[in-house]
């Protein structure tokens, strides 16, 4: 029994070290230096200068710059929406939805997606060098919010010379950014599509994030956040954080359908703590592959930004006031089996929009795939979203 346990730990360590080799490879793609003259005033009060933004674009911006679609990625997403990911070799996270001839047709729209502030895929974040000290920021990086992410995105959109985005879309934390865009830059958003999200992070979700952060901070290799300068990586902690979070992205029925109580490459239970069950093996795999492409401090900062998100809080606690007078057309989506961002939270957004008589559509999509459904091929979701975009494009005068 003891041997089994040790064996398991060893196996995980070996894989982690192999993965660590890829950590610092250069991430390809577009880069821009922003806030060189005018710093971005962050919610925490810090003025942040010289921000690098990593982004990808797909399709062509039309002559009057009216066909730009901004996609906002979720907690562990990145700018590689619709192309093979340079680090994982997997298809882009929304490549089912975005591409030539797809629902978000890159023949028609100019699609932009940038890595968020505090991210680890090229945009300025805690793993980058603080120009004032010459060392990695680590925990000296200012605590950023969803509003800060959007402030930086707005600078990118300025840089691209676009006044108004045709649409801003995103799921989960991406949906929070969509709401922030619609509230704070309403005249710059023709259509907004918040998906599987909430106007404020729930106590339950903050609790899950705290578990993840504690797992990272409990890893001795985290070194109080200073692991980059000590050439260490809190891979075990980050992997556990990912494993815990990953459960919240699925649903009980999806887990049951996929794994049930099936055993992993064995005929009987081992009376030990090896990954007897397929579901364990799957989660370990999720954890191990995640550390390959993600930075632990970035995970701390980004989960914190989600925790702090409470859009109504910026408007005397009345969410409807965030949207007063809006001309933006909204389409809100939720998924029936999503218990991380359940329908009720999405419906709260709809109620707030109704309260100001905004132009809003809302569809709850039947799916048993949990929160992850927004990333998967859900034909009904694609069909309804496609119809909404088509209607909006017609009004915006975008040719087919």
């Amino acid at each position: 029994m003891r041997r089994n346990e040790e064996g398991r730990t060893l196996e995980m360590t070996t894989t982690l070290n192999e993965n660590a080799a890829n950590q610092d490879t250069e991430i390809p793609g577009l880069r821009v230096q922003l806030a060189q003259d005018e710093p971005v005033r962050l919610d925490c009060g810090v003025n942040l200068k010289d921000i690098t933004v990593a982004y990808q674009t797909y399709g062509q911006l039309n002559e009057n710059k009216s066909n730009a679609v901004l996609i906002c990625h979720a907690l562990t997403g990145d700018q590689f929406v619709a192309e093979t990911h340079p680090m994982t070799g997997k298809p882009g996270w929304w490549s089912e939805l975005v591409g030539s001839g797809k629902t978000i047709d890159t023949e028609r729209y100019f699609v932009i997606c940038s890595n968020i502030l505090s991210g680890c895929m090229g945009t300025t974040g805690p793993k980058d060098i603080n120009p004032e000290t010459g060392k990695a920021w680590g925990l000296n990086f200012p605590v950023t919010t969803v509003a800060d992410m959007v402030r930086v995105q707005a600078r990118l959109i300025d840089h691209l010379g676009i006044d108004q985005l045709f649409a801003v879309l995103g799921g989960s934390m991406g949906g929070m950014q969509v709401l922030e865009w619609a509230a704070k830059y309403s005249e710059r958003v023709f259509a907004a599509v918040p998906i599987a999200t909430a106007a404020r992070h729930s106590a339950q979700n903050i609790a899950f994030h705290e578990v993840g952060r504690q797992a990272i901070m409990a890893d001795p290799d985290w070194c109080g956040g200073d692991y980059p300068s000590q050439d260490k990586h809190p891979h075990r902690g980050l992997a556990v954080a990912r494993m815990a979070a990953h459960i919240t992205y699925l649903s009980q029925s999806a887990l049951h359908r996929k794994f049930g109580r099936k055993l992993q490459e064995r005929d009987a239970i081992s009376y030990g703590f090896d990954a007897d069950f397929q579901v364990e093996s799957y989660l370990r795999h999720q954890g191990i592959t995640f550390v390959d492409r993600f930075d632990a401090n970035s995970y701390l900062y980004t989960t914190r930004a989600m925790d702090y998100f409470d859009l109504g809080g910026d408007y005397e606690g009345v969410l409807a006031n965030a949207f007063r007078g809006t001309q933006t057309r909204f389409c809100v989506f939720s998924f029936t089996s999503d218990w991380l961002f359940p329908t009720e939270g999405n419906r709260e957004i709809v109620h707030a929009l109704n309260a100001v008589a905004a132009n809003v559509s809302f569809a709850e999509i039947e799916s048993d795939k949990g929160h992850d459904a927004f990333l998967l091929k859900e034909p009904e979701f694609f069909r309804v979203l496609g119809g909404f975009l088509e209607g909006a494009a017609e009004l915006r005068g975008l040719p087919k």
């Binding site: 057309r329 496609g386 119809g387 209607g391």
Partner: protein, 208 residues
């Protein structure tokens, strides 16, 4: 001769509702189904149209067709809308399925300057004879459900509805009854008795 953008034909009761609505206004269709009326109003009356629909299939059909519709329950969701947010609030063939029709009527006229309400008339002669001679709950083309599966929990007659409007201080701007074929309309205010007997459906334009 066919010309482009010629209004397509819609069900006669929907056409009567559409005719009560001025162009270029703001309209909320409560229980909009798959969006037939809303689509007509948006395209041929140039209204700024919104809908609420309970069924997912209805909502998805509407939104994929470019209409602004939310999945919601009129019993619950109407209270969110601000006062006088719309020029017209339409409740077509849905009043009788509401938990609290009186409360819903109040909400319609709070949200809209006008409400357009249509419902099946439970005092239609066929319904009366069905009940009198067969002794069973009426089942017909307009009332297709058996009693145990009907969503219609609050049937009323044209007379009942007129009385309720009076009680609630609601002004009836226009009111029409339609007979079985849909080809004969009666002004309910001019012929209340005949309307209540021969009208299979009624359409009311109300002002709060």
């Amino acid at each position: 001769m066919m010309i482009e953008n010629q209004p397509k034909s819609i069900r006669i009761d929907l056409q009567i509702i559409a005719d009560m609505i001025e162009p270029d206004t703001r309209v909320l269709d409560v229980g909009c189904g798959t969006g037939t009326l809303l689509d007509y109003l948006v395209h041929f009356k140039q209204v700024d149209g919104r809908g609420i629909e309970l069924s997912t299939e209805g909502v998805n059909a509407c939104v994929s067709n470019g209409l602004s519709v939310i999945q919601g329950d009129a019993n619950i969701d109407l209270k969110d809308y601000p006062d006088q947010a719309f020029d017209y609030v339409v409740l077509s063939q849905t009043l009788q399925a509401m938990n609290a029709p009186r409360e819903v009527l109040k909400q319609l006229l709070r949200i809209g300057r006008y409400a357009v309400v249509s419902f099946p008339n439970f005092a239609h002669w066929r319904v009366r004879t069905h009940l009198v001679f067969k002794g069973r709950m009426p089942v017909s083309e307009t009332l297709p459900h058996q009693w145990y599966e009907t969503p219609n929990i609050h049937f009323c007659t044209i007379k009942d509805f007129t009385v309720l409007c009076k009680e609630m201080g609601i002004a009836v701007e226009r009111s029409l009854s339609l007979d079985h074929s849909g080809s004969v309309f009666r002004r309910i205010d001019m012929t209340p008795f005949l309307s209540n007997l021969f009208g299979e459906q009624a359409v009311f334009l109300l002002k709060g």
